[in-house]
Amino acid sequence: MSTAIATKPILDVRDLTKSFVLHNIDGRTVTGLHNVSFTVEPGQHLALAGTSGAGKSTLLRAIYRTYAPSSGEVWFRLSDDSVVNLAQISDPEIVALRGRQIGYVSQFLRAQPRRSVLDLVIRAGVSRGMNVVDARELGILSLRRLNIGEQLWDVHTSVLSGGEKQRVNIAAGLISPPRLLLLDEPVSALDPENRESAIQLISELTHQGVAVLAVFHDLDAIARLATQIVVMQKGRIINNGPVDQILPQLHPGDVQP
């Protein structure tokens, strides 16, 4: 199959369709994604645009397998350059890839409530192959950059404010970043100053060769971060191209959550 991927993208989504059969609501079928196809290459930042219900989050979840794809293929290139179809591999294989090769940073921090902030970030780094000393050093650096002061490092994440949680989530998600990063409105709860630091950190990912697939609810973030834009509507891709080509056609309403 690898011969089919000429440009060596990290993610190659082909005809991805996701429908939900609601057995308990007269068995009706709701389709969230219709034959979605696109690729993301190393160092590309692909922003998903579209109004609420367009299928942006559904797409991220179907790639991460929080939703089980109904049909289509999701080819992912592993660190050893082989490719696997995320839509087909076993649950334990997905578990093995999650967090290590594929990251998912949502707007909510989901962590063990009583884990300390710094510990959480260090563990994220260690799970991606860093040693503890490096993970600690780098973790502290990004926590500082995200304005999470030393007094918060040893407190449990459960006591943090929404904005603090989101920043800790970014620090953990971006340390020794995985090959593919799925960002679902990661800066939605941040004030302008902290949002600025977060965007700065995310922008550095492209230089590290990470493939990013992101949903933001403001055009400013897209303008500053994206290299590519995919515009979605009713579960289909209606436009796909480089940022300078697509961005001028977008209105703020096109990216509302």
């Binding site: 057995h23 696997v84 334990p92 093995a96």
Partner: protein, 284 residues
């Protein structure tokens, strides 16, 4: 073949079944999720669990969800040997090189296996603890069974385990009957970990505890599973427990496995009609 490295499975369960009453093909056909009952009206047999298959790796927790009577505790108790199963094959890679079927062990061998291979944390601490014995004595039990004969050594180990399970050390020499429910559960967990088992079976470990106490115990279990790289099975009717502790789970209904999924997928995108009902009920 993909190049994804997945951890070797510690536990392999194949074709596990437990039937109360005559075992006939008809009884199997006339029961199950689709029929809507575990009881065969023709023979009176109860098919408590049938055709259950799964694997659990080191450092992984597998959830078993379902309402009461779905067979989830039956599966757990069959694996532990607390009840005899009717059919099936259960292997622990760390026991007899995975060559022994746990279901057919004689009682003495099974008891020995449970000293350091497999521990159960029961919903009711009275089932896993001697309430008239001190917290330390309850830990001394599995330790002495494993051959520990040094009093100070046992004390040090018990202290360490109680500390990890957040039982105040000044309660170590109090009898467990004087402990609160949450504290008893912590002692039970400490005892279950005494001989570094490879597999821990948790049967509704926080059911019956106050919400805040339950949250603390869940935190503890989650941390310990990670720290000791344990393989675990978590049986619960409570999705928040399953969500917190497991990455994968199976759904049981009238003795059958109706869905086998990633835990987040089960919660966000359940497939089987029964799973959908269960999830939407939990959300409500």
């Amino acid at each position: 073949m993909s190049k994804i490295v997945i951890p070797d499975s510690v536990l392999k369960v194949s074709g596990l079944g437990k039937i109360y009453g005559p075992i006939t093909d008809g009884a199997i056909e006339r029961t199950g999720s689709q029929v809507g009952t575990a009881r065969d009206h023709q023979t009176g047999s109860i098919v408590a669990a049938w055709d259950v298959n799964f694997e659990v790796a080191a450092g992984e927790a597998l959830g078993i969800v379902g309402e009461s009577g779905s067979g989830k505790s039956t599966v757990l108790r069959c694996i532990a040997g607390d009840i005899d199963s009717s059919v099936g094959d259960v292997r622990l890679s760390t026991f007899e090189n995975g060559e022994a079927n746990l279901l057919t062990l004689d009682a003495a061998t099974r008891r020995k296996m449970r000293i350091d291979q497999l521990s159960v944390v029961y919903q009711d601490p009275a089932e896993g603890l001697s309430l008239g014995v001190t917290a330390g004595g309850n830990i001394a039990d599995p330790l002495t069974a494993a051959g520990w004969r040094n009093f100070e050594g046992i004390r040090v180990r018990a202290r360490d385990l109680l500390q990890r399970t957040e039982v105040p050390l000044d309660r170590m020499d109090d009898i467990v009957r004087s402990f609160s429910g949450g504290m008893r559960q912590r002692v039970q967990i400490a005892r279950a970990l005494a001989n570094n088992p490879r597999l821990v079976l948790l049967d509704e470990p926080t059911t019956g505890l106050d919400a805040s106490v339950a949250a603390g115990v869940l935190d503890l279990i989650r941390g310990l599973l990670e720290e000791f790289e344990l393989a675990a099975i978590v049986v619960s009717h409570d999705f928040s427990v399953i969500e917190m502790l497991t990455e994968r789970c199976i759904v049981m209904h009238h003795g059958r496995v109706v869905e086998n999924a990633l835990t987040d997928q089960l919660l966000e995108d359940p497939h089987h009609p029964y799973s959908q009902k269960l999830v939407s009920a939990a959300r409500a």
